[in-house]
């Protein structure tokens, strides 16, 4: 008999929450009268399947467990755990023959399934792994995964299946992967949630659930139960006025009308199409530059991860994020920002120079944080500015800073639009911070550039086409006609979002581009076609 609980196929493909399983969960919640976490439900369900299977094995045991040391006679029924618990009948017994072993027998066994008889060693007093096991019955079999081990191995997919099934079941309610029964929820007067609305409004900051329950006068702090917390959370989550903005492990309720629109929607300018690249073809030089650009669409393995023990990191402000007032979440920056798998998260940036705090958001399912638009403008930060992120004792506060310098007027590249085409000129500009000159490209007329952006998006202009155009324009600014890959990355992203790896891949794949030294490339328009 196949032990289905031991089979990946069962959990990955066949397992579904049937009526019995739903009843089991329902009854467990009723009996325990508590909120059950999805993890606990998954383990309980695995244990249920496991025990049921053991009972079935015991009831079906029809013969002696096979062990090489045992003696068997013709007609004996033998169960072979190593062959999915097949039962066979001993057809004959003969003396064994082996240069190393003396007396032992070989039994010929026929199986119910009708296959040809197979031979097995018996009366074998020598070492064999099957002799080491103290098996009494099928239910005692070693070498099978325990429910906990099954959970470790298949827990993710089992949880997902349970969650999907219970979410579609009207008897159950859930909040943050915990489940309860709808009929067991206490009734709340609608007016209580108006009080919650007002409490958050007056506070102007998110309130945690215990604070809200107290303000709603549902219970005093020390009397708040898990069911009350869950019930209020569930109601608030299903009320369009409220928004949970807490990081993973915390619930913090806020009002949707107080949060910026972009908190719940992805910023179109940062969206990218499904464009993949493979850095295996890149030179070491290109790979190093890839990591320097700090773009969230660079493959994770191409950027060194920074752990919680690093207090401060420096990143380059690239064009897409300079334009959107955002910062990318990459392996380098991820540990600095709070996150949640359930909702967008509100946190604060603290200006490293002034100490002033301002709100910022981690959008759900995005790989950036936003809220820096005003800060970039106020400090007149250019594309390519070096920014530092620094941890504080509070994971919801991150210090941000730049490297100020004496304001100097220098010549920088500037993008503008002439005859509906993007061009570049060298223009004087005053800059008061350290920045990467190779990344720097200013914008002369953002409205006209936005029009080009929209047109490129509507036309779905390929990266290669944009790259050829900006390369030809940028080459005019340099007597050698070479352009650095960082400048090309910025220039492409002015009118079309493109990951640095994808842009580099176009450079590597097309003969019209030739690598020079130190990240500089040349372009031959005649070879572009």
């Amino acid at each position: 008999m196949q032990r289905k609980t031991q089979s990946p196929t069962f959990w990955q493909e066949q397992f579904e929450l049937n009526r019995d399983s739903v009843d089991l969960i329902y009854n467990q919640i009723v009996e325990e009268n508590r909120i059950l976490a999805l993890n606990d439900l998954a383990l309980a369900l695995i244990q249920h399947y496991y025990k049921a299977e053991e009972q079935e094995l015991i009831s079906r045991q029809d013969g002696r467990i096979y062990r090489p040391t045992e003696q068997f006679a013709v007609g004996d029924k033998v169960v072979f755990p190593q062959f999915n618990f097949e039962t066979g009948i001993v057809e004959s017994v003969r003396a064994g023959k082996h240069p190393q072993y003396e007396k032992f027998n070989v039994i010929s066994v026929s199986f119910k399934t009708g296959q040809a008889a197979r031979e097995f060693v018996a009366d074998f007093e020598y070492d064999h792994p099957l002799n080491q096991r103290e098996w009494q019955s099928l239910a005692d079999l070693q070498g099978v995964m325990s429910p906990e081990e099954i959970y470790q191995k298949y827990g993710k997919i089992i949880r997902a299946k349970i969650k999907a099934a219970l979410k579609n079941h009207t008897d159950f309610v859930d909040f943050h992967d915990s489940f309860f029964l709808k009929d067991l929820l206490p009734d709340f007067h609608e007016g209580l949630f108006n009080i919650a609305d007002a409490a958050i409004d007056i506070n102007s900051h998110p309130l945690d659930i215990d604070n809200l329950i107290e303000q709603m006068q549902l219970a005093k702090e020390q009397e708040i139960t898990e069911i009350t917390r869950f019930s209020v959370n569930y109601h608030l989550a299903n009320d369009a006025r409220f928004s949970d903005v807490g990081p993973l492990g915390q619930v913090a309720w806020y009002l949707k009308r107080l949060q910026p629109e972009d908190a719940e929607f992805l910023i179109p300018r940062l969206e990218i199409k499904q464009e993949r690249y493979n850095s295996a073809k890149f030179s070491q030089d290109l790979r190093n530059l890839l990591a320097e650009i700090d773009d969230e669409f660079t493959n994770l393995e191409d950027i060194s991860a920074v752990g919680l023990n690093t207090e401060k990191v420096t990143i380059l402000l690239n064009h897409p994020h300079w334009r959107s007032g955002t910062l990318p979440i990459t392996p380098k920056t991820a540990s600095f920002f709070p996150t949640s798998r359930y909702n967008h998260v509100l946190f604060e940036f603290v200006d490293g120079r002034t100490g002033n705090a301002f709100p910022a958001w981690k959008v759900l399912n995005s790989n950036y944080v936003f809220g820096l638009n005003q800060w970039y403008k106020k400090n007149k930060l250019p594309v390519g500015a070096y920014l530092t992120l620094q941890r504080t004792d509070n994971p919801l506060r991150v210090i941000i800073n730049f490297r100020p310098t004496r304001t100097q007027r220098g010549w920088v590249r500037q993008a503008s639009v002439v005859d509906n085409k993007l061009i570049f000129k060298m223009m004087p500009e005053a800059i008061g911070c350290e920045y990467d000159e190779l990344m720097m490209v200013g914008e002369a007329n953002s409205v006209a550039i936005d029009t080009l952006w929209t047109r490129a998006k509507e036309r779905n202009t390929p990266v290669f086409e944009v790259l050829c155009h900006v390369f030809a324009e940028l080459a005019k600014l340099n007597p050698q006609s070479t352009v650095h890959v960082k400048t090309l990355y910025t220039a492409v992203n002015i009118i079309r979002r493109g990951a640095p790896g994808v842009i580099f891949q176009e450079l590597v794949n097309h003969a019209c581009f030739t690598p020079m030294n130190n990240g500089y490339w040349s372009y031959n328009p005649n070879a572009a076609n």
Binding site: P68, Q82, G96, K97, V106, E119, F120, V121, P129, L130
Partner: protein
Amino acid sequence: MSKYVKPTLKTKFCVDFSWWQGKNLRSFLQEQICSEGKNHYDNQAEGTFDWLHPETGEVFQVDILWHLIHTHCRQQPDFITDYTPLVPAIFRVFIANNNTPLTPGEIYDIIHKQSPEVILKTIGGRVIYEGIRPVL
């Protein structure tokens, strides 16, 4: 006909003796014997012995030359050399380890020939070479 399941680098392989039924295993084993073993083999009786599966206890009647190679030839330094072709080298690994199942990576760690991927491509395809096939 059973459904073909494409093996992966995690799939274990071993020699399936039932594949050799009706084929000349003895002739193939003769090619694997070392020179010293060949002298010894001249004095060996013809016939088979009961080969015991190290994990399941199943018995296969296998040519006695297998045992000779397993006990004697595998200890010779030239049992698997740089010049041993890939498939015979893999087969010799299984004789040496008494047909204990191994993944392509584990085979590679012993023979250091080609790569785990090439070994997988060789013994994991639809064509079975010398009875080496995935453990189902």
